[in-house]
């Protein structure tokens, strides 16, 4: 370490402790990133959290402190409560179905089938397309006319009785939106599960097969425990994605019919940019942020313990 010490002196750098031994880079390297991050993320987030307790209209600096009024209003506001309910329902549906399908697809293409590489590309392709365009694609598929899109396909295969106004019927519109998200993102879950599956040593399966373990038993006792990291990532990603869902709703239903597909994100957007109630809007955003943070922490904690237990 004498050489290192001399080098440090020659550079006239005050030597902070250092990972792996050697010369620490100067802290100036982190300054540009930190400044931009503070300006674009940290300051607005704190400022937003603060204005949730005011009656700020968004125009000018005029605002007065109103305590918890915005939050009380939120819990009396049917639109906001409905949006909260929709957000949670959408999130649960997306987390369960998207990851279920993603896992099945991964198991299906992680085999000796000849089309496995092509299928991966097909199932993953929607992930790289803008959610706005995927939403418009599905808006056409969900066309209420009996002779277009999904309804026409149902008619062609003799299931005409299932025809629906997929986005216009308030009791199914939310599920139609959820399905669009699942169609677009199942391939994302699939590639993360695939990365997990590729990390499962083949010898484990072979020796279990010699011991007479069937497909289901091998999945339960070998594959599933070793998939824990992939499960963690997939659950985190889909939960946060579901809670903050916005684009697909604005593009497909704009929250309608009525308030049937409003989520916390669409409500806070409308409150701010349509009704000019910025204080109230940031209160909704704060509730959303607390949900996202709480879910992230619970999932990280729970899944960490599962990973180490497995």
């Amino acid at each position: 370490m004498t050489v290192t010490a001399q080098a440090v002196r020659r550079d006239a750098v005050k030597a902070p402790r250092r990972r792996g031994g050697g010369i620490a880079p100067p802290w100036l390297f982190a300054v540009p990133a930190l400044l931009i991050y503070a300006l674009v993320v940290l300051y607005p987030a704190f400022s937003g959290a603060g204005s949730a307790f005011t009656d700020w209209s968004g125009v000018g600096a005029q605002r007065s402190f109103v305590g918890l009024d915005n939050f009380q209003q939120l819990f009396r506001d049917d639109q906001a409560l409905g949006a909260l309910r929709n957000t949670l329902l959408l999130t649960v549906a997306i987390v369960v179905v998207q990851n279920g399908i993603g896992l099945l697809l991964a198991l299906g293409v992680h085999t000796g089938i000849k089309s496995r590489m092509v299928l991966r590309v097909i199932f993953f392709a929607p992930v790289v397309v803008s959610p706005v365009m995927v939403s418009f694609l599905w808006k056409y598929v969900y066309n209420p006319a009996p002779d277009a899109g999904l309804n026409a396909a149902l008619g062609a295969i003799g299931l005409g009785g299932l025809r629906q106004d997929w986005l216009g019927n308030p009791s199914i519109a939310l599920w139609s939106v959820a399905f669009t998200v699942i169609w677009q993102c199942a391939g994302y879950s699939m590639v993360i599960f695939l990365a997990g599956l590729e990390g499962v040593p083949a010898e484990l399966h072979e020796s279990a097969m010699v011991d007479g373990a069937g497909t289901v038993a091998r999945f339960r006792h070998i594959t599933w425990p070793l998939l824990a990291p992939a499960v963690t990532i997939n659950l985190m990603l889909s939960t946060v994605g579901g809670l903050t869902l916005f684009t697909q709703i604005i593009a497909m239903t704009n929250g309608g019919p009525g308030y049937a597909t409003d989520t916390l994100s669409t409500v806070l957007y409308k409150q701010a940019f349509v009704f000019g109630k910025f204080g109230y809007s940031t209160a909704v955003a704060l509730v959303l942020a607390i949900f996202v943070a709480a879910v992230s922490f619970i999932q990280i904690g729970y899944l960490r313990s599962r990973e180490t237990a497995a």
């Binding site: 902070p16 390297f29 993320v41 000796g112 199932f123 397309v129 365009m133 396909a153 701010a272 942020a289």
Partner: protein, 273 residues
């Protein structure tokens, strides 16, 4: 793995699933090639004869040419700034074991779980006050800030796994820290730089909400914003809308097909660092 009868059954099932999965794409693409008469009479058949008239009209009406240019400019600049600033910051964070560097790392990580909706309105005000609404610079600044936590996280994890010896040697040979970083460290970061590039580029290219707010009506709209306006304007002209959607999705899909191995690997590995 041997190709057994069971494998064949699975192959058939999976291909059937893929065909069902592709149905919406089939419906959209055939729609784009049909004239209005065919759309009304034969909604699901192949276009016969195919007509390409909608494509030219959609390209014009949605001003896709300039939208692609705007998207390319904003995406490329943001990703470039993210790679430079993110890798530099991560190099400091990964190679310094002080309380300051540890705290800073945590501060950056907070940004990953903080939903951007919380700061959305104050940020909009700030961008407005700075006169950056409707400008490329405003968007580049926004994406740099919003994507830095994730970028720093990926780079820091990767740099920690690298041995420190290389830089020491360079520094002892009299190189400055910046030179050592640029010539020794940065080339070693190629794999993670690839991941950072792919994940950020796909996200920024496809982002909709912020460009809608910041660029709406400025003439500098990105592809998703133009498509949104275009579809809402011609909503009942199905053939035209379909042609516009196909054209708008084509560039990124083609790029994906060319780079599919890297893209899929980037998405699959990026989150684990």
């Amino acid at each position: 793995m041997k190709y057994k009868p069971r494998t064949f059954v699975l192959e058939v099932v999976m291909v059937a699933v893929a065909i069902a999965f592709l149905f919406p794409v089939y419906a959209l693409v055939t729609l784009a090639f049909k004239d209005p008469g065919q759309i009304a009479n034969k909604p699901l058949s192949l276009p016969d004869p195919p007509s390409v008239g909608s494509f030219g009209e959609a390209w014009q009406s949605a001003s896709l040419g300039s939208a692609l240019l705007n998207s390319t400019l904003i995406t490329a600049s943001s990703v470039l700034v993210l790679i430079v600033l993110g890798s530099l910051a991560a190099y400091f964070l990964a190679r310094t074991a002080t309380r300051l560097s540890y705290t800073l790392y945590i501060v950056f990580l907070v940004g990953i779980i903080l939903p951007f909706q919380l700061g959305m309105i104050p940020l909009y005000q700030m961008v407005n006050d700075l006169g950056l609404l409707g400008t490329y610079q405003g968007m580049i600044l926004f994406y740099t800030g919003i994507q830095l936590p994730f970028t720093v996280f990926l780079y820091t994890g990767f740099i920690r796994s690298l041995p420190a010896d290389y830089t020491n040697a360079a520094l002892i040979d009299g190189a400055s820290h910046l030179q050592a970083f640029a010539h020794v460290i940065f080339p070693l970061l190629r794999p993670i730089t690839g991941t950072v590039l792919i994940l950020n580029a796909v996200h920024i290219w496809n982002d909709f909400f912020t460009p809608l707010l910041y660029l709406g009506g400025s003439g500098r709209e990105t592809v998703p914003v133009r498509v949104f306006a275009f579809v809402n304007e011609y909503t009942s002209n199905y053939g035209l809308v379909a042609a516009g959607l196909v054209l708008a999705a084509l560039p990124i899909l083609l790029l994906f097909l060319v780079l599919q191995r890297y893209v899929i690997r980037g998405f699959a590995s990026g989150l684990k660092g």
